[in-house]
Symmetry: C2
Subunit: 372 residues, 2 copies
């Protein structure tokens, strides 16, 4: 059983094979959770365990080959992949290496993602034992992943709707006096109740007029009147993510907080106007930057790709000249410095269509909502 | 703010430095979530984002150096690490590489985990640009991580207690007619309600007398009378995991299911008798294997280390001759084939003490519980 019908994965492999022919690659070697899942449909929480390596080979001609620990055999055989080769892992001396080497034999040029956001998810000593000198396939794989299919967009619309429903309950979930870690926990539960399958990512912050950073785990400090509470989720459904946040003032919103929030809202509007096919990421970035003025929240970009990972290429950044095409799913994530060590950030999720961007998230209110 | 006081992390670094001196290494280069957190206390869900690399250098002499994207600066500065060097990431051409190269300059022999369960969590192209030829530090780092401190054991006892409380509610959470994915969701919520901070890992299965594998995500099939439902969690608190499961018969337990369950329970008892300081992992494995007889569930080992990762070294496997010492936290995880394509598995978590193993989980019932 996979999240989508076999035709979805076959289409991805067919596109990959066309790109491999153009790039002069004979096979792709995939080994991260996302890469293996993207082409096979193999989805399991078991990637949490770092003990065992997993491999998928996508040849330029023919069908994919999975080389996996036997604990994953039944699940891999439930996907559309027919050629499944297994070994008993962990193995003291040959943890899939000779099996993988055999499977790669005969392929001339082997591609593997080696650029930004890639990882070697196997022992480097074992990798060297393979005797393969791969070429970088990052651009090739990202060119496929950038553009989402109708099925992918539907999955992402569904998880964004889950997130929107959970945020809509903020008024009853959060209130002054509640500890921040309790607010995080209540929000995780709300996401699950609304239909999320997993909630791998919840971050946020709270403080007077803003928060210090956006990646810290929550402490036990109670929410106070005048605090701005921000929660940002990464919930998932069928292996696809939403990634958006909402801000709420607890009891009272200061003029400073209201002004910063409104500026962020306008910056997102500017991003929505700019995010059309044919425009570049840097142009969307520039539109949002202009709306923000001098304030920079310091998170390094103003949005990013979204899909089967919480953050994907491309970045909405000044250096990114990639052109937007229909089917790209992006976050618009302007951030702003509010005071010394204090910032605010907002985030929405969109899909680029022929007619311009379509919001997958229920658009945040234009004025900072006051709750609790 | 870190999960433990600075002294906990300082002690880890001091132990590492002693081991580095003995191994002839001048610095350790750490870049995975667990390795960076182990020595610094830096904990964030932001590792979910693959876009940015993070680095920590542990020198043989002196204090650790963090080289991280500026989005993580505030959080890293809240740890005990004083030397924090940042850059604006993502960067189009130099994503921390020159900063890291400078920080590594002057160290002769640089160690990096390159063996089993390790990963290169950065662009391999960027890694090559570093110009560093590291030596394998897997054994060194595992030798530290194997033995848990009192603080670590306390955190793990707490999350195991959370899991035990959630499983104790099984009778009211699960019942015949409930879809398996709804059971998973109810269990995740129960874990959060009982105090889990995150629930990164829930797997399981259900079927007549057992299940087909132990790593699949749940489908929507309803639980039927006579099914054995197994749920296995990886919940976490302060960055430390429990990893155990429970089996429940829905409405009725067949003799086959009862017999298999009892055999697994006895195998765990055998493991508990064997898991004493001075014994090897292979001896514990042998004791459990003897109790299981010919049946093998095919998951490749009968338990493993547990800590700040869901699965850690060592394996309870025939090939593993590591000697148990006080402070090691292990899972005992016997599995058994029940019929064609059907298996059962049980799991408990223990800490090895001078006096033998101490259960961190509330021991499963000796007979298969019937609920719903």
């Amino acid at each position: 059983m996979t999240d989508f019908p076999p035709a979805e994965y076959e289409a991805r492999v067919t596109r990959a094979q066309g790109a491999m022919a153009a790039a002069g690659m004979d096979a792709l070697l995939m080994m991260t959770e996302v890469e293996v899942r993207y082409f096979s449909g193999f989805r399991t929480a078991f990637w949490q365990s770092s003990t065992r390596p997993w491999f998928l080979i996508v040849p330029r001609i023919g069908a994919p080959v999975a080389v996996v620990p036997e604990i994953g055999e039944a699940l891999m055989r439930s996907t559309w992949v027919r050629d499944v080769r297994v070994w008993s892992s962990p193995h003291p001396s040959d943890d899939g290496v000779s099996l993988l080497r055999d499977a790669l034999a005969g392929f001339g040029v082997v591609g593997m993602p080696m650029g930004r956001a890639s990882a070697l998810r196997m022992s480097m000593l074992d990798f060297r034992r393979l005797g393969v000198e791969p070429v970088d396939a990052s651009a090739l794989v990202w060119n496929l992943r950038f553009v989402k299919s109708a099925a992918e967009i539907e999955a992402m619309a569904a998880i964004c709707a889950v997130g929107s429903r959970a945020f809509a309950r903020a008024g009853s979930l959060f209130s002054g006096g509640m500890a921040l870690d309790a607010a995080f926990r209540a929000f995780r539960i709300a996401l699950l109740e609304e239909g999320a399958e997993e909630v791998p990512y919840v971050v946020g912050g709270a403080g007077a007029d803003g928060y210090g950073d956006v990646i810290s785990p929550p402490g036990a400090t109670a929410l106070r009147r005048g605090d701005v509470l921000m929660l940002d989720t990464g919930a998932s459904l069928r292996g696809y993510f939403c990634d958006f946040d909402r801000n709420f003032a607890i009891g009272h919103a200061s003029d400073t907080a209201k002004r910063a929030y409104r500026t962020l809202w306008e910056a997102t509007e500017a991003g929505l106007s700019a995010a059309r096919p044919g425009r570049t990421c840097s142009e969307v970035h520039a539109a949002m930057t202009a709306a923000l003025g001098d304030a920079d929240g310091g998170i390094g970009r103003l949005g990013h790709g979204l899909g089967t990972e919480l953050t994907e290429e491309p970045s909405l950044a000044a250096f990114e000249d990639r052109v937007l095409v229909p089917g790209m799913v992006l976050t618009l994530e302007p951030s702003i410095g509010v005071g010394p060590g204090t910032m605010m950030v907002t985030e929405e999720n969109i899909v680029v269509t022929e007619d311009g961007p379509r919001l997958l998230t229920e658009r945040a209110a234009p004025e900072l909502p006051v709750i609790g």
